[in-house]
Symmetry: C3
Subunit: 158 residues, 3 copies
């Protein structure tokens, strides 16, 4: 029997939405789906390394790099910022309830062979370079996304 397929576009750069994406992805992989997360626009931030990587960039690319969160742990919430209290609150309750934080969900995804893809077109737009992103991810465009999604069972845009 052919494997079921889950293909998620992660467009959002919000911590909570990325968590939802990775929880569904890890769940689907546990149920033996072939899973891809295609990171585009602000969703690319989930794949950024948290250290500062020196890369030669133009002015606007430097601005984007400065303004965007460096890695999953630094991402904000889609709701309830309350002067930054929101993300801290969520992380506190997550710790209290032994929920898995986003950086570990991403590690789990890599261990479960979930295909993590960075959208090259938006990397280019936002001035992100391969060295700034996590190791062992793939680089592709909309054609590769469609090839995965068109035979998919669960297709989501998050």
């Amino acid at each position: 029997m052919e494997k079921k397929k889950t293909t998620i576009i992660l467009f959002s750069g919000d911590y909570d939405k990325a968590m939802a994406a990775y929880i569904i992805a890890n769940g689907a992989a546990a149920y033996d789906h072939e899973v891809t997360i295609f990171h585009t626009f602000w969703g690319l931030n989930a794949l950024r390394k948290d250290e500062n990587i020196e890369v030669k960039k133009g002015f606007m690319e430097k601005m984007f790099a400065k303004m965007m969160p460096r890695g999953a742990d630094k991402m904000g919430l889609s709701k309830m910022h309350f002067a930054g209290m929101g993300p801290k609150m969520i992380k506190d309750v997550m710790k209290k309830h032994n929920a898995v934080p986003l950086p570990q969900l991403i590690e789990m995804a890599q261990e479960q062979d979930i295909k993590l893809v960075a959208c090259t077109m938006t990397m280019d737009l936002l001035g992100l370079k391969e060295v700034e992103l996590l190791d062992n991810i793939e680089y592709a465009g909309v054609a590769a996304y469609l090839a995965d999604a068109e035979d998919g069972n669960v297709n989501l845009f998050i």
Copy 2:
């Protein structure tokens, strides 16, 4: 012939997005789809009862309970808040055009046997208890979602 299936994840706590979810869901049920709405994160607020329910909670759970809207009617808009004018404007034009408000769309969904599911993992995170949510809903996690979605025709993340 097997029934078609529509499975919606309602992640958003915005009035307008929840309206879209429930309009699609009610439409799909009218066309004889088997429909599930899986409420997670801020989408759980659509299922809150509007009265205050006394529940023993920790400090952070109380904070969340206070900050989050109590029930569908209290939810804000994803766009055009304008100091709270937006939701009132939308509700006014809805009344004028005889559009069905969200709380009634949820009632219709229950009458049409749409399966309303509350995500237990995020209930736990946000400190929401079963007594605070509407009657006649189901409680489940990502595994149940995937079981519904993997054979689905229309799968959406809202």
Copy 3:
């Protein structure tokens, strides 16, 4: 062989999300999918003509018309507004990288026979008239959406 189908609901009125929708749609059409973009709520703004169209409207409809962006080029970003700097920055980097701006992506979509649909129910709510929207689009409701989506391969809510 039957054509594959991509059906996208564009709910969002954000420039970046609309770009994502139209890039996926144009990609899918290039791979010979039958593609529909169903514009609802704030997504309708992508279909507005950029000139001012004189239409008799009630007070609230005039307010909405004033507050909502007139056409794709005027839409804001979902993230990184920074006092309006965000959209300008994105458009500057897009120009620099020869990326196709949203209004041209919409033209491409029409040339590729992508079906652009305006949701009549939300047009009514927001007080938008057919003369205010682009030519050669279709007008329909949730039933038409479901008819397209239920046999679809890629169904997204953006």
